[in-house]
């Protein structure tokens, strides 16, 4: 199994950090913060910005204080993800407090909280690689390189309608892998 982009990058930074490299550590923390902020904000809703920021700080603090528990031989993303998940659940148990509804909501968010989804921004390549070659190429051209569907249609020799359908399917397939239930029926 090939290692994902995020795993290689983040593990490299973590190993340097454990050896005391401050620049690497700063870069690692900034990447992790941005990943978490984007993720928690999306899940907690826009009115919970403060919550998301507090939560991010708690996770980073845990990463810092408990970095001794990272095993250099094992994947970094799995280690970090479990800390982030633990803190998310803890957040709902502690702050969500007594109401069952909030605990249930927390459980639901935690259940949807997947390693793939957290590292998605770093792992576009890995996600695309899981799609059929035709869809992958179209998504690269339209969603990443920024071409129009018309241009992509000419380039691949398909009708524009087919290109649109193909891209739509590709996006839905990625959504499913990330655990977003955006399937219409």
């Amino acid at each position: 199994m090939t290692k994902s982009v995020s795993e290689q990058l983040l593990k490299g930074l973590m190993l340097l950090s454990l050896d005391g490299d401050e620049a690497a550590y700063r870069r690692l923390l900034v990447i992790l913060r941005d990943l978490l902020l984007a993720f928690y904000r999306r899940r907690l809703g826009s009115d919970a910005d403060r919550d998301a920021e507090d939560l991010v700080q708690e996770v980073l603090l845990a990463v810092h204080g408990r970095r001794i528990t990272y095993d250099r031989e094992r994947p970094f993303t799995a280690w970090f993800f479990q800390i982030a998940k633990y803190k998310l659940i803890d957040h709902f148990r502690a702050n969500g407090g007594k109401r069952d509804v909030e605990i249930a909501l927390g459980d639901e968010i935690a259940a949807e909280f997947r390693e793939e989804a957290l590292f998605a921004h770093l792992d576009v390549d890995r996600l695309l690689d899981q799609l059929p070659a035709k869809q992958r190429e179209l998504l690269r051209q339209v969603k990443i390189a920024g071409k129009t569907t018309a241009e992509a249609a000419i380039e691949t020799g398909q009708s524009e309608a087919m290109v649109r359908v193909s891209i739509h399917r590709g996006m839905r397939a990625i959504g499913r892998k990330l655990g977003f239930a955006n399937d219409e029926k």
Partner: protein, 213 residues
């Protein structure tokens, strides 16, 4: 954002290198402290029990090896369960296998012995306090294990507490076996196992409330 950046800067300025296997070294320290603590408890208890009975070589080694295996399996599991993504691995299977072997040996011993000796082999004279002494001897080890876990990152507190407790029971049982006067393998299978299990259950309860972070 600036507040967040300051936060990251604060963490960066607090960065100190972590040596490879730092967590394992810490665990090793906890285990050594636990063994020494149990040995001290044993020495103290010997002053209350000056005359030693005769123990057969076989019984001594069964006790010794059984507890060493339980201790080793739980130490390995403890190292793993201390990490956020860690699982206990094959601990349960190893413990069950060790228990199975001792039960088998116990049945063999009972088969070879006259029925009149059964009370001695099963209850002995220390059954009423043996499990509790094993738990008591394990207390220093349990404290050391909890110290270790509270600075680690276990994401399943009750399970981590159970492993810490069972490990303490293993340490306590091992040291206790050095001067245990029983000759019955059935005795070991029942009362040693109960003591270690009891220690694990207590650990699980303590872990559930005290291993949050």
């Amino acid at each position: 954002m600036t507040k967040n950046d300051e936060f990251i800067e604060a963490l960066v300025s607090d960065l100190t290198p972590v040596r490879p296997h730092a967590l394992r070294m810490r665990l090793a320290l906890a285990i050594v402290v636990g063994v020494v603590g149990a040995a001290v408890a044993l020495l103290i208890s010997l002053t209350f029990r000056p005359h030693l009975h005769h123990v057969t070589v076989a019984a001594f080694w069964v006790k010794f090896l059984y507890t060493v295996i339980l201790m080793s399996a739980t130490v390995v599991a403890l190292e793993r369960v201390a990490r956020p993504e860690g699982s206990i691995g094959r601990m349960v299977q190893v413990l069950a296998l060790a228990f199975g072997v001792v039960v088998l040996l116990a049945i063999v011993q009972l088969g070879l012995s006259p029925a009149s000796s059964y009370p001695g082999l099963i209850i002995g004279f220390s059954a009423s306090f043996c499990p509790f002494l094993i738990v008591a001897f394990g207390i220093p080890s349990f404290c050391a294990n909890m110290w270790f876990l509270r600075r680690a990152a276990p994401t399943r507190p009750a399970l981590a507490g159970f492993v810490a407790g069972a490990c303490a029971g293993g340490v306590g049982g091992w040291v206790y076996s050095w001067a245990c006067v029983e000759n019955g393998i059935p005795f070991i299978a029942i009362w040693y196992t109960l003591g270690i299990l009891l220690s694990g259950v207590v650990g699980s309860l303590v872990g559930k409330v005290s291993l949050r972070w």
